[in-house]
Amino acid sequence: MMRSVNGNTLLRLALVGAAAASLAACASKPKPTYPTQAPPQTQPQAPPRTELPPAAPVTQAPTGALPGSTEDFVVNVGDRVYFDTDSHDVRADATPLLDAQSAWLRRYGAVKVRIEGNADERGTREYNLALGARRANSVRDYLVEKGVTADRISTISFGKEQPIDAGSGEASWDKNRNARTAVVSGAR
């Protein structure tokens, strides 16, 4: 834990002291930019992740995201998991990412999140609002079970109102059935 704090402090100093160099370093990385908001993901599922190592944040944040920041969460942990049609069960391929979310949230204990449930367009509006709420709560329950305190997590459903893929077809629907964990406050 101490190592982690030290590492963060070092990084912060490095960023403050050498912003230009740091930015230049960022620009040379394979990912040229990092987003200020959750980017629309182009894959239906995030790559599986193992638990983040406790330290060495410089090498673990190749886009330059500050550990504990919203960018760090979005880029290095992943903010979205996906669901099967008509289902709110957490899929097996979503658990590594949710495990990483819970680890990150336990590490940065001041962060509060809102889980936003989403549904694809193949349902009617009100039922899909209820279905999205179920998905958000499935993620919430998983994170709570993994040790994140419940009062740090709120939920909402956007139903089918906010698709991340505007297309129509299985590939688009796969992406639009998801729950996004949005950092609300407490991030660095």
């Binding site: 709110h88 009617t124 009100e126 209820a130 709420a133 179920r134 505007a166």
Partner: protein, 436 residues
């Protein structure tokens, strides 16, 4: 001639008694033309609506003809075919001229503007019986000429079908703009023929599922923000808007009770959605369902005694019925497929719904006991029916893959399916009661 049965067991539709034409011609003065709304196997009734005399007389006639045409029960004849020209409401038509073009009914009138008031005198004639069926006068302000035309349309419809019309009504809906990924949703209102559209909200929050009170110009709708949802009441005459209040969890799917005194809605907490009803004068809420499944989209019967709703407690979304106090919950939808958005008809005889089956969406109707299910439409995405106040026509939204939603209507027989004459993108239509 006796009025037709209102029974719906037969394939429903406009029946024009063309077959009895000979009877009309030979019959004594009591014989009348009549449109039977309960049968669908005959042609629409040919009617003539020549331009009314006076200022905007042609406009008024066009609105009337368009209303009658869209009902599917009438076929307005091409004015170019008319033999008698410049017919006024002051003289009897030359019936022979109208028989020649086989006009069964003739609607003519005169517009007068006096002292800043618009007066419209109109008459409807049974051409082959050579008798007047209707003679009425409407007075209003000149800018209200479309409403006068709608009221005349309602009078003609009622006189010929024996049922109330639905033309002097409005539709509240969600106007959509900005494309699917960045959609802006604004509450909007327009006449039932798509005229006079205007926005009611600014678009700074997502609005959904407006519903009219069945006895006033008041609506209830849901608003969704990034971190919360609310249900609003909105009086269209006073522009007064108020929230139903704060609830733990999401609130959605509001519907008025028939007397306007209560609102049924869904509250979601911990992923479980249940139906509550709030008394609007005491502001107390009662929980009606407590199943751990999704319970939503409540709709009252016209007598207020029962509620049809949507639940997936049996494993897939189906339609259920209960008493208005939550008692006696039982499933009524039986077929395969997913049933959602039940809406009780204003007459009480049907429940309209959205059904998903075989990769398609349908608007359908069934009786309140679940029998006599009929699917009226089929497309990539049809959703969210609302009833015209006479229970003869449904409006809903239709989407093509990747396209914006558009408003469509279908009559309760399924024969008369057409897009609304409103060019923009719209969803979640809610049909008003007849205006006063």
């Amino acid at each position: 001639m006796t009025r037709s049965l209102r029974s719906f067991s037969a394939p429903v539709m406009a029946m024009v008694l063309l077959g009895l034409l000979a009877v009309f011609l030979a019959a004594p003065a009591r014989a009348e033309i009549e449109v039977n709304v309960n049968r669908g196997d005959v042609q629409p009734l040919p009617v003539a609506v020549p331009a009314f005399g006076g200022t905007q007389g042609a406009d008024i006639a066009q609105v009337i003809a368009a209303n009658l045409q869209r009902s599917g029960l009438f076929r307005p004849l091409d004015p170019a075919s008319f033999v008698e020209k410049n017919l006024t409401a002051a003289v009897q038509p030359r019936f022979g001229d109208w028989k020649t073009i086989n006009a069964q009914a003739l609607v003519n009138g005169q517009v007068t503007v006096e002292g800043g008031k618009l007066r419209v005198d109109f008459r409807m004639w049974d051409v082959f019986a050579e008798q007047q069926m209707l003679g009425l006068q409407f007075t209003s302000s000149p800018e209200n000429w479309r409403r006068v035309a709608h009221k005349i349309s309602d009078a003609v419809y009622e006189r010929l079908t024996g049922e109330k019309g639905y033309f002097d009504t409005r539709v509240v809906f969600v106007a959509e703009s900005g494309g699917r990924a960045k959609v802006i949703k604004r509450l909007a209102i327009m006449d039932q023929d798509g005229a006079n559209p205007s926005y009611l909200t600014s678009g700074d929050s997502i609005v959904m599922t407006p519903r009219f009170s069945s006895n006033s110009q008041e609506i209830t709708y849901m608003s969704l923000r990034p971190d919360s949802s609310s249900i609003f009441l909105f009086n269209l005459e006073t522009a007064r808007r108020e929230s139903l209040g704060a609830f733990p969890g999401m609130v959605f799917a509001p519907r008025f009770s028939p007397d306007g005194g209560k609102v049924a809605f869904s509250v979601e907490r911990g992923g479980n959605s249940d139906i509550f009803v709030m008394n609007l004068s005491s502001r107390t809420s009662t929980r009606l369902t407590s199943d751990p499944s999704i319970d939503t989209s409540a709709s009252f019967s016209p007598d207020g005694a029962r509620i049809v709703f949507n639940s997936d407690r049996g494993g897939s979304p189906q339609l259920y019925l209960m008493g208005a106090d939550g008692s006696g919950q039982r499933r009524i939808s039986g077929g395969g497929g997913r049933y959602t958005t039940p809406v009780w008809s204003p007459t009480g005889e049907f429940i309209a719904f959205t059904k998903q089956t075989g990769g398609e969406f349908h608007i359908g109707v069934m009786r309140p006991d679940g029998s006599d299910e009929r699917l009226l439409t089929s497309s990539y995405l049809d959703e969210g029916p609302t009833w015209a106040p006479n229970g003869r026509v449904l409006m809903f939204s239709r989407e093509t893959p990747g396209g914006p939603p558009k408003l469509w209507t279908v009559d309760v027989t399924g024969r008369v399916l057409q897009p609304m004459p409103y060019p923009g993108a719209g969803s979640d239509p809610a049909w008003s009661p007849l205006l006063n």
